[in-house]
Subunit: 189 residues, 2 copies
């Protein structure tokens, strides 16, 4: 692949990522191309369709988020690593305005994304989670998937408020994860 082609792809992905975070995934292709400093023709040479560009951005960010897990795990003790990565994950989900709508749109470009979530994010978190569990720092009555879902919900719903609202709510949730933090309140339902 020619070097300028690779540069275009990188610029497009970066521009799209930035615009999606601020304006949602409905950002017009022309704006994306402008911000990347390329023409729309170039955009369409690299991504067959607007949806393919969106999917590529999501995939890239998902991977980056998953890749952060082992790095964080190597540098911090189990529970801190888990907490930090969940904030990282929250930041990822928080920039995905319109993600849910896109996923349910039925567009074939998005079909592969759920599978990628399973293959990358889920195991990435599970490793952190099991390390923290093994260290006895996480209560035993909660499932790893529940946490990923809960954090995603927190970040999806409250996105128009102050931008750190989600971060704080995730922090509260993480505190609640601490082993034995609320032993008397564990009887739910």
């Amino acid at each position: 692949m020619r070097a300028d082609a690779q540069r275009s792809i990188d610029a497009l992905l970066q521009a799209a990522m930035a615009l999606f975070a601020t304006s949602g995934v409905d950002a017009p292709v022309r704006e994306i191309a402008d911000r990347a400093g390329v023409g729309v023709g170039t955009l369409y040479r690299r991504f067959a369709t607007r949806a393919d560009l969106i999917a590529a951005v999501f995939r890239r960010e998902m991977d980056a988020c998953a890749d952060a897990a082992p790095v964080i795990a190597a540098e911090y003790p189990p529970f801190e690593a888990l907490a930090m990565w969940l904030q990282r994950y929250a930041a990822f989900v928080g920039t995905k305005r319109g993600l849910a709508k896109a996923l349910h749109s039925g567009d074939p470009a998005f079909e592969a994304l759920p599978a990628r979530f399973e293959q990358r994010l889920r195991p990435a978190f599970r490793t952190l989670f099991e390390a923290a569990t093994a260290a006895g720092e996480v209560r035993a009555d909660i499932d790893a998937d529940e946490i990923l879902g809960a954090v995603a919900s927190l970040c999806m719903s409250a996105h128009d408020d102050r931008p750190d609202h989600a971060r704080r709510m995730v922090a509260v949730l993480v505190d609640g994860l601490r082993y034995g933090a609320n032993e008397s309140a564990n009887a739910r339902s």
Copy 2:
């Protein structure tokens, strides 16, 4: 209001209803106007925006569905009435491809719809449900709202299959409602 204006409104609502059922709520305004035998100008004279037309169609169908409840209740015994109305409700939800997306779009035209659901459909079903319960024909461990939600889910998800798939699933669900029909299976976690 002039008679021709009323005719236009009726024609538009009917055309939109038919198109929404077959092509989803994304049907273009021009197609709707054509099918109604009017120009797009007329459409926009009657409905400030495309979303307002969609909302009007939903409202009208919701009301029709709710109005059917007392009619059915007057003609059939409690449990049959309940079963029949749920099929009516299923038919309504089944023609609403894209309803969920529209509701979550944040468009102000749809803001009033959830309230209308509460005010019309919920009580309409609750009356049927309580009559059947009073007659001892419905198991006691289920809530009326759960049923409305479950039927809606059934009709939303499986819409591309054979069109009667949802109808059959709803029928199965209704059978499960019969009081004492599966007493041994009632222990669900």
